[in-house]
């Protein structure tokens, strides 16, 4: 006759089942924890674009590099790691646009700032990772 273990009426099957379940749970938790950082910081590349691109335009404004109103020249000064679309709209010079298409499948960062180039202008820019 089989000896009863640990005074359990059901034998030790339930215990092994529980131990097995706990190991399975731990495994699931480990996998989830490992992917957690990725889930948690999934916005970080987008955050980096906002900081990086805004900073570039602040610096260009300080150096009066926007005053040329030349979109090609402005884009040439920007970092290569992103793609850009730029639109300048000035009170006297009117709308200056570039023909770059904005992709539909990527995170697009956009912003608009005023600037002074002997006339009042606003600069709108869109940016995305290459």
């Amino acid at each position: 006759m089989k000896k009863k273990n640990l005074f359990l009426n059901s034998g030790n099957k339930g215990m092994w089942f529980t131990v097995d379940a706990i190991f399975a749970l731990l495994l699931v938790l480990v996998v989830i924890m490992l992917s957690y950082n990725h889930l948690n910081y999934s916005n970080m590349p987008n955050a980096a674009i906002t900081l990086d691109v805004n900073d570039q335009f602040i610096v260009m404004d300080k150096l009066n590099e926007l005053d040329s109103l030349d979109i090609v020249a402005i884009k040439a000064e920007l970092k290569d790691k992103y793609e850009y679309k730029i639109e300048i709209n000035c009170e006297s010079s009117g709308l200056i646009n570039d023909s770059s298409a904005i992709p539909e499948t990527k995170f697009i960062f956009s912003n608009e700032i005023p600037f002074y180039a002997n006339e009042n202008c606003r600069l709108r820019y869109w940016s995305w990772l290459k």
């Binding site: 009426n9 916005n43 906002t50 404004d61 005023p114």
Partner: protein, 249 residues
């Protein structure tokens, strides 16, 4: 009976596992939401920072049109301006036009009283040029310097002794008027140069009145860890002195 107990244990075990998983995912979801909130807050902060950086820079660029020059060192703010200043109207039109433009296109409202005034905070020492006069309001320690094309023929002080320090260094083609005085703020002290060609009135404020050709006046205002702002309500333009060196110069 044994089978029933087995089943109960199984159900209990599964329920505990399910609860643990639920709690874990709830925790993760909260953290993920926090992360999104952080991203949104950072994005908004960065957008505002960008906006105010360019406004500050553009205002400084337009301020340069006034022909006034502001320098800052460890102890003083040094303001240099023509008196009278023929550039002020153009500057005032341009800065008001710029602020109108920003208000219209960016849904931001400026407090823009006295855009020609340079203000030190928190002392509220204010400097501006109006007509033939350079005003420095609420000051108690200032040096006024200028050079005139003629000779200095007379330099007459009319003062009561007190606590307000005024230092003048006025040079002519020949002769000069260089002196430091402590005067009473309750009395309208004055310095009359060349029989009324230039008069400097001193009490709680200083007024340099020029009655002949335009002159280039330098006012050195003593400061104690104050900030400098352009226009009475443009508080976001308030800069500490180290920043002012790069921004306003």
């Amino acid at each position: 009976m044994v089978k029933i107990k087995k089943g109960m244990l199984l159900t209990l075990g599964l329920m505990l596992i399910a609860l643990e998983l639920l709690a874990f995912f709830a925790l993760m979801n909260t953290k993920n939401l926090d992360s999104n909130d952080f991203f949104i807050e950072m994005y908004e902060y960065n957008e505002l920072n960008t906006f105010f950086s360019v406004i500050e820079k553009n205002s400084q660029e337009i301020f340069d049109l006034s022909g006034m020059v502001v320098n800052v060192n460890q102890n003083n703010v040094i303001i240099n301006s023509q008196v009278p200043n023929s550039n002020l109207n153009y500057y005032e039109n341009e800065i008001n036009s710029y602020y109108d433009f920003v208000e219209t296109n960016f849904e931001y409202e400026f407090g823009r009283n006295n855009v020609t005034h340079l203000i030190l905070e928190p002392s509220s020492v204010t400097s501006y040029v109006r007509g033939d006069n350079l005003f420095i309001i609420n000051t108690n320690n200032t040096k006024i310097e200028f050079e005139i094309e003629d000779n200095i023929t007379s330099c007459n002080w009319n003062t009561q002794p007190g606590e307000i320090k005024i230092e003048v260094d006025i040079k002519g083609q020949s002769g000069s008027c260089v002196e430091t005085k402590f005067v009473d703020s309750e009395y309208l002290n004055n310095l009359n140069i060349n029989s009324g060609d230039f008069i400097i009135y001193i009490n709680e404020s200083i007024r340099v009145k020029n009655n002949i050709n335009p002159i280039n006046v330098t006012a050195t205002i003593n400061k104690n860890d104050q900030k400098i702002a352009l226009g009475a309500n443009l508080t976001y333009l308030a800069l500490n002195y180290n920043e002012a060196i790069t921004i306003l110069k």
